[in-house]
């Protein structure tokens, strides 16, 4: 009886393994099929010249470093602004809360490209001339900081009140409780959001091409324009951005799974 059950269990497990392997295979086939069709469509109907792409692609790829640099520095500052903003939004002080909520409302309520042009065109009128790269970083960091403020605030508020009460019951001062109990738990909620925003920022950094920053899109536009071939160079740029987001999404998943290693909530859910 016991043996039979074991055999049955084994065969069920094997069956499940097979099914999941099958599923994986079909999943990959779907991806491969779509990519194949896409490439075939582009090659057949869009008049692509391989020799042109071979000369244009290296020029466009030279912009990857700048795109990554701008995005990385911007996400760093955005995180700092968001921490300050979230603490402001949670503050009982009318002054701090007012400033933080104005910040969020204003910078989420206006288009990012307008903010970028403001840093680029408006500031020189009052004698402050920022380099295009600083304009791009300022625009991205401040804009993303506003969005992330709300995420951070929600992350902090998602830590159950009971945690703070328990800390207080143990005699912890509110500030210590926030730093030792609330912040680390909020951190776990917030980090995936930072990763998401970094991936989004990789793409939004393309807006910096409008102020002459020689990143991926700027290079694609200019190397294509002179031969009237921007469609082809935009496709190269598209592939570059896509690969970058795939890579950084994978990195983000790694970080996320490592962070959730000790998360009892997730373990309980199985």
């Amino acid at each position: 009886m016991h043996e039979e059950a074991e055999v049955l269990a084994k065969s069920v497990a094997a069956d499940e393994g097979r099914r999941s392997r099958n599923w994986q295979t079909r999943f990959r086939l779907v991806w491969g099929g779509i990519v194949f069709l896409l490439i075939a469509f582009i090659l057949i109907s869009l008049n692509v010249e391989i020799s042109f792409i071979q000369t244009a692609a290296p020029f466009i790829l030279q912009g990857v470093g700048l795109t990554l640099l701008v995005s990385a520095v911007s996400i760093l500052f955005a995180t700092i602004f968001a921490i300050a903003g979230a603490l402001g939004r949670l503050s009982r002080s009318a002054l701090l809360n007012g400033i933080a909520s104005f910040y969020v409302s204003f910078f989420r309520g206006t288009p990012l490209i307008l903010q970028l042009l403001f840093w680029y065109l408006a500031l020189p009128q009052v004698g402050i001339v920022l380099d295009p790269i600083l304009c791009a970083i300022a625009a991205l960091a401040i804009n993303y900081g506003a969005y992330m403020t709300e995420i951070f605030r929600a992350g902090i508020q998602a830590v159950p009140l009971g945690q703070r009460e328990a800390a207080a019951a143990l005699g912890m001062a509110p500030r210590t409780a926030f730093l030792r109990i609330v912040a680390p738990q909020a951190f776990r909620i917030i980090v995936p959001a930072i990763g998401n925003d970094f991936v989004a920022m990789l793409k939004d950094s393309a807006l910096a091409s409008t102020v002459g920053l020689q990143e991926i899109l700027w290079r694609a536009r200019n190397v294509g324009a002179k031969e009237f071939k921007t469609l082809q160079t935009f496709m190269i740029a598209g592939v570059v951005y896509w690969v970058l987001t795939i890579v950084f999404t994978a990195v983000q998943n790694r970080i996320e799974s490592r962070l959730s290693a000790g998360d009892r909530n997730k373990e309980a859910k199985g």
Partner: protein
């Protein structure tokens, strides 16, 4: 105000240092026996508050250019600027005795003036017009360029008046777009040969190239004609596989192409004198003609 005066003091200090260095080291360029324009200016006590003084003190001239406007200026795959404007810009900087820093703003931002010190000069095929002269100072022309029209090969139009009421494409803030929307009648700096077609509708893109690209991509209803220079149109026709042609061989207007300086920036008077001397010398010694032959295959530097 305080920040400004501190900056000025710093610049003055830099000018002194640059002057001292310039005096102690022999100039590597043998072509100019009398020294570069900056050496002369500094020796004559040019204050660092003027544009010339600022450029000489920094040892760098920031030049606004278009990275995708061959054969005038083009950033090649090796990361170098090549073309008629680029050659002219480099030679001008050499004769000033400073190095070049390229800046690549949108065209409309250059013609609008108020550069805020982001670049010192435009050496980018800018045609003199009275409107632009309100915000920028033009130097003496370094070449001359005429406006032509390009039409689809199957177009029935053969002269400008055939395009009355039609849509004509041009790059934003270009002289070609100005011609379409009213022309240069009465202008002292642009010679107009043909009135623009009556009732023509202007369609613009941020760059001229987008007119051609939109058409070649299949947006054939986008425009009935497009206005640009001879070199541009020749390149577009070559790219079009027989889909585009010149309207006719007649130029509609001819302009003087010049370097431009920002009127709202530091005092330009001494820079205008120094740069006009350099331009006159480059005309006289055949440098500009050579650059023109090298890049365009013909000499456009004479009116």
């Amino acid at each position: 105000m305080k920040i400004k005066s501190t900056l000025l003091a710093l610049l003055a200090g830099a000018a002194l240092v640059a002057g001292a260095c310039g005096g102690s080291t022999a100039s590597p360029s043998a072509s100019t026996t009398a020294g570069t324009a900056c050496e002369k200016a500094i020796a004559a006590g040019e204050p660092s508050t003027t544009l010339l003084g600022k450029i000489c003190a920094a040892g760098v001239i920031k030049i606004a250019t278009d990275p995708a406007y061959p054969p005038y200026s083009e950033l090649n795959a090796a990361g170098e600027y090549v073309g008629f404007d680029s050659d002219t810009a480099r030679e001008t900087a050499k004769r000033l005795g400073v190095t070049v820093e390229w800046v690549t703003p949108e065209w409309a931002a250059i013609t609008a003036g108020n550069w805020g010190g982001r670049w010192d000069i435009s050496i980018g095929s800018m045609t003199q017009t009275e409107d632009r002269a309100k915000v920028v100072d033009f130097l003496d022309p370094y070449f001359y360029e005429s406006g032509y029209l390009i039409v689809p090969t199957d177009s029935a139009a053969t002269k400008v008046s055939d395009l009355a009421g039609k849509t004509i494409c041009a790059g934003e803030s270009t002289t070609h777009s100005t011609w379409i929307t009213g022309g240069f009648g009465g202008s002292a700096v642009v010679d107009q040969y043909n009135e623009p077609p009556t009732g023509a509708v202007l369609k613009t893109y941020p760059t001229d190239h987008q007119c051609i690209e939109a058409y070649l991509a299949g947006r054939t209803d986008d425009w009935d004609a497009m206005a640009q220079s001879r070199e541009f149109i020749e390149a577009a026709i070559a790219e079009s596989n027989g889909k585009l042609r010149f309207l006719n061989e007649e130029a509609n207007f001819a302009g003087r192409i010049s370097f431009a300086l920002d009127k709202s920036g530091p005092d330009t008077a001494s820079a205008i004198v120094a740069l006009n001397e350099i331009i006159a010398a480059m005309h006289a010694d055949g440098t500009l003609s050579k650059f023109s032959m090298d890049n365009l295959g013909r000499d456009v530097t004479k009116p």
